[in-house]
Structures are given as structure tokens and as C-alpha cells.
């Protein structure tokens, strides 16, 4: 008799182990929920980890006000179905109060302003661990990220001085005022996430599947037409069959031409794709180390 489990079950088991460590080592953890598939996976794994108890962490959604409606609908369905505790932080509030300044012009996005609201909510909620759906295959700075990532009292990440992580032993010790970011699905790739959803038959937002939408082209990327983006006169809106590979704020989420309407078709597409999913994220394109710079400042 051979005892072995396939790799998706091993990844699942590892992520569940991390979730349970968080529950044991921290007093007040929170799941950062963006509405994207990675944070959905994270939430689903948390449901599994503590069953039949309810998930012992609330979900925090930083709402830029520039969401796809489908994201909000899905979020509310998930919360209702699994009896989750949802907290929402509004970027609009920070703008109204003058804490942050709305960007202007064609490339204006609230993506950068999120960091303020996120850190503010973490402080207000006195959360000592924030679980995120970051994966190491996403981006080069993330390839060096730990499962338990220590942040100083300003929420900053010091990549050159990370705590070593060995075996299954996670050091969540911290001083007063410091907190941790925890990435339970670090070892999953985009393809793994899709394969897992296929295996588990867990429902996902419609945005991930091919549908018709009004779009326009900018810098070689397709964006969904909406009131939140100022279009240049040369940018023409037309109807296209598209889907999202990542879901963020509407101003910086590129959409892709696709006919994939099932997870199986998405998997076939992902497996043959020659572009990473973040290749469609305008926020990563600002400079070579855009992600590392944002992470240092406390971005997810």
C-alpha cells in the first residue's frame, strides 16, 4: 500500500496548516478580501480549516468605490452563505476627509490610495495578522516573500531582513504595535488555483468567464469601459467577448479577449498563455520594482 496524496491536496493541506497556525498564534487576525479568485480561495480554505466551526477571522474588504458590480454581488453571496463576518473600509471616506488625494487624468487610479485605507483599517481594527492571497509566482518581489511576513509599526516590509522560515515552524512573535502579513497560498500558481476550483466545483464570480462587455484599448491592454476612467479622444469603445484573469479595481484591471466559459476552458487557456496574469495590471507597469516599492510601503 502506497500512501501519497496528489500535489493539490498537499498544497491545500499546507495552506490549512498555515491558517490554523494563524488562529493559534495571533489574537485578532483578519482575511483581506479583494473579491479576486485568490482571496476567494483563501476564504474557502479558511472555511475548510475550521469546519464545523465558523471561520474565526473577519473578512476585510477595501472598497475603492471603483468595483465591478459582480464583485460586490459575489462578496455578499459568500458572506451570507458561509456566515462570515464582513468589514468594509472605504477609500472614498479617506478622500472626503482629505487624508489622500484623488489622482487626476487618464491614468488616475485609486489603487495607490488603497494602501492608506488598508493600513488605517488594520490599525482601527487592532488586527495583528492580515491574511492575504499573494502567491510567489505572481511577481518577482513576491517570490521572496515568507508565509509569515513581519511588518514594523509603520506597516513596512524589510525584504533584506526577513525571518528565516524552516520546516513547519512559524515564528509569529512581535512587539506591541507590529503586525504580520500571512500568505497561506504562497506556493500555489495561477494554474493550481484554477485546477483546484475545478476539482472542488466551487462557484466563482461571472467576471472570470467569457462575456460580452464594452471595452477600449490602452497601451496594448483592454480595459472595461466605465465612468471611473477618463478616456482619451482617440480611445474608441466597442463590444468584445472578454474575461478577467485577475479582478481588482476597474481602473487598473485589464480584460482579455477570450471565449472560455468553463473552468476547463480557462485552464486550457492559462496553460497555453504566454503572458502572466499580472501582465494585465497597469499598477505593476509603473517601474521595474513597482511591486517591491509598494510592498515596502505596506501594500499587499
Amino acid at each position: 500500500m502506497e500512501y501519497r496524496i496528489d500535489y493539490l491536496r498537499e498544497l491545500e493541506s499546507e495552506s490549512i496548516f498555515i491558517m490554523r497556525e494563524v488562529a493559534a498564534q495571533f489574537e485578532n487576525p483578519v482575511i483581506l478580501f479583494s473579491g479576486g479568485k485568490d482571496s476567494i480561495l483563501l476564504t474557502y480554505l479558511a472555511i475548510k480549516a475550521f469546519y464545523p466551526s465558523k471561520v474565526p477571522f473577519p473578512l476585510l474588504h477595501v472598497d475603492t468605490g471603483h468595483n465591478f458590480q459582480e464583485t460586490i454581488d459575489y462578496r455578499d453571496w459568500l458572506v451570507e452563505t458561509y456566515g462570515l463576518n464582513l468589514k468594509v473600509g472605504y477609500v472614498q471616506e479617506a478622500i472626503d476627509k482629505g487624508y489622500v488625494k484623488e489622482e487626476k487624468g487618464y491614468n488616475a487610479s485609486r489603487n495607490y490610495l488603497q494602501t492608506y485605507t488598508l493600513l488605517d483599517e488594520l490599525e482601527k481594527g487592532k488586527y495583528d495578522a492580515a491574511l492575504g492571497g499573494g502567491r510567489r509566482d505572481e511577481e518577482k518581489a513576491r517570490a521572496k516573500e515568507r508565509f509569515f511576513s513581519h511588518r514594523d509599526e509603520f506597516g513596512q516590509w524589510d525584504p533584506k531582513n526577513q525571518r528565516p522560515e524552516l520546516w513547519n515552524l512559524f515564528n509569529g512573535k512581535k512587539h506591541y504595535g507590529e503586525h504580520f502579513r500571512v500568505f497561506p497560498i504562497s506556493n500555489w500558481t495561477e494554474l493550481d488555483v484554477w485546477l483546484y476550483f475545478e476539482l472542488e466545483k466551487f462557484p466563482l464570480p461571472n467576471l472570470y468567464f467569457a462575456h460580452e462587455r464594452q471595452v477600449f484599448e490602452r497601451d496594448g491592454m483592454l480595459l472595461a469601459d466605465c465612468d471611473f476612467i477618463v478616456k482619451k479622444p482617440s480611445e474608441e469603445v466597442y463590444t468584445e467577448t472578454i474575461r478577467c484573469r485577475t479582478i481588482g479595481d476597474m481602473t487598473c484591471t485589464g480584460v482579455w479577449k477570450s471565449n472560455a466559459v468553463t473552468i476547463q476552458e480557462i485552464i486550457a487557456e492559462v496553460a497555453t498563455s504566454r503572458m502572466t496574469e499580472r501582465g494585465g495590471r497597469a499598477d505593476d507597469k509603473r517601474s521595474e520594482s513597482a511591486m517591491e516599492d509598494r510592498k515596502r510601503q505596506g501594500y499587499f
Partner: protein
């Protein structure tokens, strides 16, 4: 790449570590594995092409794929462990790519701690050098079950069998004292792709497998301990709802052995005994469980169990003791290991405090010699020490079980992880 979903679902996970500097061709090798398994995306490739040109380099520098931090790119060195992923229809691979310089021994230890295989690169022109030895000794200390020595840059020695055999003999001579059970040699050229994915046409004298073939087919499921049942309790699940009123489940990840419904078990360190009533995997009930599964167990009797306790079978008991002998790698850059100081120690899901009773010797990682005179343990040093803990730890020798045999030591002032320890 095969996209058959069923094949993907049945794939097994293999973790391997590599260590070395840029010049020994490690980055080129990783680049090639990623490239040949079609795991490099066009935009990633375009990005490093642009960076390479900015740095005034003629060719696309594949090392830039693995050096993720700004400081690393600026200095052209690897500082920290980077994790890389690729998959083939048979397996999913996680590469822990670690820096090889002596000042980064701690990062090498980190990357190696969870590996199934250690991949060691040797330049065919230079043979076994200090770095090769250090990497091998660390792999051996961490008891990585399989070691593969890639004798690289064969294209620069005219693909000569003699050159290969010479390096191999040199390595075997050195490795006699190592604890590694399984060593494989492969002559390769990472740059030209010889024996990486396809057999080399220039080395007909070599009849062994290619590197990819080796990684895809290596038997690893037997490396885990399926004999001695070890279940460290991680978290107690008590829903207190009407539906699950009396539910009391012990959540954890199996660290050793096979647990079945109905098995007699003992809880350590208390010594209470009971029987396994049910094993849960989310909302399913299963008959048996084994490493590395995360499950929730219910026992027949209502006994006092909390995080840090260990559920074991009544035969093959682990050691319960407050006195431990450890091989440690010291990580702290600010202060050396000190007698008398109390440190926090983490072992499986248990936390205790400890003091160092003796520093027995320091190990020279270049030649395995023991230094009994100089016992100042600084960053990156490896030493054998004896400690006493405030609570009994339920443990095994590291050679028997890497999970129940390992600890980390934490400085109580800075909260930093200052040492990795293996129980001997």
C-alpha cells in the same frame, strides 16, 4: 505541456533546493528548466530582456529571473531564498533557489529544510570546490534524502568522459563521510541544454537519465515516516452550535505514521489513552490519514488535550524529555549564542523556553572537522549544543522524522528566529 486536467490532478509535488553563485551556472540551469518546461511567460522574458539591455549585457540574462530584489539586481548577487515553480504532466516542482556564499549559510539551511532533493552544481573545469563541499555538508546535515550532483559546463571540457569521471571520483572521495543515502551524478551543459530535458548527442558514453527525467521519476513517497504515528495537536475545534453541540475536534497535520479509525492512541506528555472515533477532512469522514494531510480527529473519550500535545500510537513511542542535544545553525547577526540566556523554543506546535547547558563543538562546514577550542557561535556557524527546556518536549531524532525532530530558537528581546536546530 500537456493540459489534461486529470493528469495535472494526479501530479505529485517535489521540492528541491539549489545553491551556488551566479558563475557556476545555477541561474542558467534554473532558467533552462523553466524555459524548457514552458514556465517562463513572454512578458517575464520581455522584462528581463529590457533589464539586460539596460545593464549593457549582450545576451538575455536568465539570472535576472531569479534575482527578485532591487539590491540583488543592483549587486548581481542572490541574497535571499527565492521560490520558483514549474510543472510537467507528472509533477509540480518547487525550487528553493538559495545563495551559496558562506555569509548566506542560514539562507541555504532555510531553503534546504523542506526539500526532497538537493541539486548541487559543479563546474567540470574546477571540480569539487569549497562551496560544493559546504552545500553538500548542509544537505547532509539537514538529511535531504536525495542528492544530485550536476557536473556542469561539459561543453567547455569537450564533453569528455574522462573529465566527468575525474570530478565524480573526487566528489565520491569527499562524500564518504556524509550521511546522504542516495547520490546521483549527471553530466550536463545548462547553457546548451545537454542532458537537461533531452539526452545529449555529444555524450553517448553517458547512459543515465537526464536531469528532468530524474526529477520526474524519483521515488519520494517513501521518504516520509509512515511507521511512527505522530499527530501534533495544532488547534482545538469546538463549534458550540446546536448542530455540533458536543463536537470536540483536534486539528493538525499528520507528522508521521498512519492513523485509522478505531486505533488505540496515547496523548503525550499526559499519557492519557483513548481510541480514534472519527477522522474529518472538511465535511467528509475518512477512514485513515497520513503525512502530510491536515485533518481533524475526534477521540472516543473526553480527555484534556490542547495545542502542543501529541497524539501517538501506543507502540513506537517518541522521547519525552527536557534535555535535548541539538545540531544548530546560528542565524543572529547581532549576537553570538550565549550560555545563561533564556530563549524561546518552538517544536512542532509546542512553545517552551530553554537555556544552553553546553556548547559541545563547532563544525567546520568546509571539511566536517570539529572545533573543540573555539566555541564562540556566530552567525552562519553550525554547532552541537545541549539545552534544557522548561517543559518536556515530545520528540524524535531528526534522522527519524524531520518534523518532530526539528526546532527553532527565538531571541526573546528581538523576537527574531536566531537558530534552526535538529535533535540528535
Amino acid at each position: 505541456m500537456n493540459h489534461d486536467i486529470q493528469e495535472n490532478l494526479n501530479a505529485e509535488l517535489l521540492r528541491f533546493s539549489t545553491a551556488g553563485s551566479v558563475d557556476d551556472g545555477k541561474s542558467t540551469l534554473i532558467g533552462r528548466l523553466l524555459y524548457d518546461s514552458k514556465s517562463i511567460f513572454q512578458d517575464q522574458y520581455d522584462a528581463i530582456e529590457v533589464s539586460s539591455r539596460k545593464r549593457g549585457e549582450q545576451e538575455v540574462n536568465l539570472a535576472l529571473l531569479t534575482d527578485g530584489l532591487k539590491a540583488e539586481r543592483e549587486q548581481g548577487i542572490t541574497i535571499d531564498v527565492a521560490y520558483r515553480y514549474f510543472s510537467t504532466p507528472k509533477r509540480k516542482f518547487i525550487i528553493a533557489d538559495t545563495p551559496g556564499h558562506i555569509q548566506y549559510t542560514r539562507n541555504m539551511v532555510t531553503g534546504a529544510s523542506t526539500s526532497n532533493v538537493s541539486l548541487i552544481l559543479v563546474d567540470a573545469r574546477n571540480g569539487v570546490i569549497e562551496q560544493t563541499k559546504r552545500h553538500s555538508i548542509i544537505s547532509s546535515l539537514l538529511q535531504i534524502p536525495h542528492l544530485v550532483v550536476c557536473i556542469n559546463k561539459m561543453d567547455l571540457v569537450d564533453y569528455s568522459e574522462e573529465a566527468y569521471e575525474q570530478v565524480k571520483a573526487q566528489y565520491l572521495e569527499f562524500s564518504r563521510e556524509l550521511a546522504v543515502k542516495d547520490i546521483t551524478f549527471i553530466p550536463i551543459s545548462a547553457l546548451k541544454g545537454d542532458n537537461i530535458v533531452t539526452p545529449s548527442e555529444f555524450m553517448p558514453w553517458y547512459t543515465g537519465t537526464t536531469l528532468m527525467d530524474y526529477l520526474e521519476n524519483l521515488e519520494i513517497s517513501r521518504d516520509r515516516n509512515f511507521q511512527d504515528v505522530r499527530f501534533p495537536v495544532q488547534h482545538v475545534i469546538r463549534p458550540n452550535t446546536d448542530e455540533f453541540h458536543d463536537f470536540r475536534g483536534y486539528a493538525g497535520r499528520v507528522a508521521g505514521g498512519v492513523l485509522r479509525k478505531g486505533d488505540d492512541v496515547t496523548v503525550l506528555p499526559s499519557g492519557h489513552t483513548s481510541k480514534i472515533a472519527k477522522i474529518h477532512l472538511y465535511d467528509q469522514e475518512i477512514e485513515e490519514t497520513f503525512p502530510p494531510m491536515s485533518v481533524t480527529i475526534e477521540l472516543e473519550d473526553d480527555i484534556d488535550i490542547s495545542r502542543g500535545d501529541m497524539i501517538v500510537k501506543t507502540e513506537f513511542l517518541p522521547t519525552t524529555s527536557q534535555d535535548l542535544e541539538l545540531m544548530i545553525c546560528w542565524f543572529d547577526q547581532n549576537s553570538p549564542l550565549s550560555y545563561g540566556t533564556k530563549y524561546t523554543i518552538l517544536h512542532t506546535t509546542k512553545e517552551a523556553r530553554c537555556v544552553v547547558k553546553s556548547i559541545d563543538y563547532k563544525l567546520n562546514v568546509n571539511d566536517l572537522s570539529k572545533d573543540l577550542e573555539n566555541k564562540v557561535i556566530n552567525m552562519n556557524d553550525i554547532a552541537k549544543i545541549t539545552i534544557k527546556t522548561t517543559k518536556p518536549l515530545v520528540s524524535d531524532h531528526y534522522s527519524k522524522n524531520r518534523i518532530t525532530g526539528s526546532v527553532i530558537i527565538i531571541d526573546e528581546g528581538t523576537n527574531n528566529t536566531v537558530a534552526a536546530g535538529m535533535i540528535i
